[in-house]
Symmetry: C2
Subunit: 155 residues, 2 copies
Amino acid sequence: MGIKTLKSEIKTAGGNYKMQCTAGNNSIILDEPEELGGSNGGMNPGEALLSALGGCKYIIAKMFYQKFNINLIGLCIDVEGEIDMDALMNTVEKKNRNKDLKIGFSKITTKWFIDANNTKEEIGEFVEFVEAHCPMKDTIEDKPDFSVEVLGKKH
Amino acid sequence: MGIKTLKSEIKTAGGNYKMQCTAGNNSIILDEPEELGGSNGGMNPGEALLSALGGCKYIIAKMFYQKFNINLIGLCIDVEGEIDMDALMNTVEKKNRNKDLKIGFSKITTKWFIDANNTKEEIGEFVEFVEAHCPMKDTIEDKPDFSVEVLGKKH
């Protein structure tokens, strides 16, 4: 299959921050909550990143559970991220970043709710495998190269 | 505002991979395309991560453009990520990861389409600022601590 390029196109969906993100024939709406100046028309980008990470783990788990002989009855995954809002707001106010303060997530916790007829050890081994083979976790753990292009009006 | 915990809860939405990700009162549906065993009921997690990253840049840009005296007429952001599908599929087939192959995004390109009555230098300085102050880019560039908890059936 080789190298594949995935893409999301972001444009306004009205209001301050509400936006439509489109990939192929699928779209999601992102926004900020009202206390941050948005209209709560959708998740914020932080919640979308946690969804992407947890969603990727969910898919890898569904791809592999049979190979690990997991008798899966139910699977839910909660992903929580801790973010220092003061560090971000400080940036906004002062137009200058304090490099000592982390503005992104400082900690991400994944809670695996697995209902399966297996031992704790079997489930633990399975989760460990998925955690080590999740492309979106790999993206965050082992950062990609970043490239930026500044272009004019989009046609 | 202090440390805030954002959260996404992921559960099945039917089929192989289709899932509902819920944060507060907002939800998105993620899935895989048909060629990868899904039903194309929504973006895949890679596209969602690119949306989260681009969406965060979009919001920071909207927060700051006036402070940079950008006379903004229109803003669209495209985010593209390159991923080696063979590296991932190899993992799936062999149940064993080749550590030499990167399974996540190896490169992420952001294309800024800015329509504004400003000089190229002014726009360049503005984009540089946003790129350096985007919490989701910071999350990927400077990885957070990861924590994993394995729990039973979710109530």
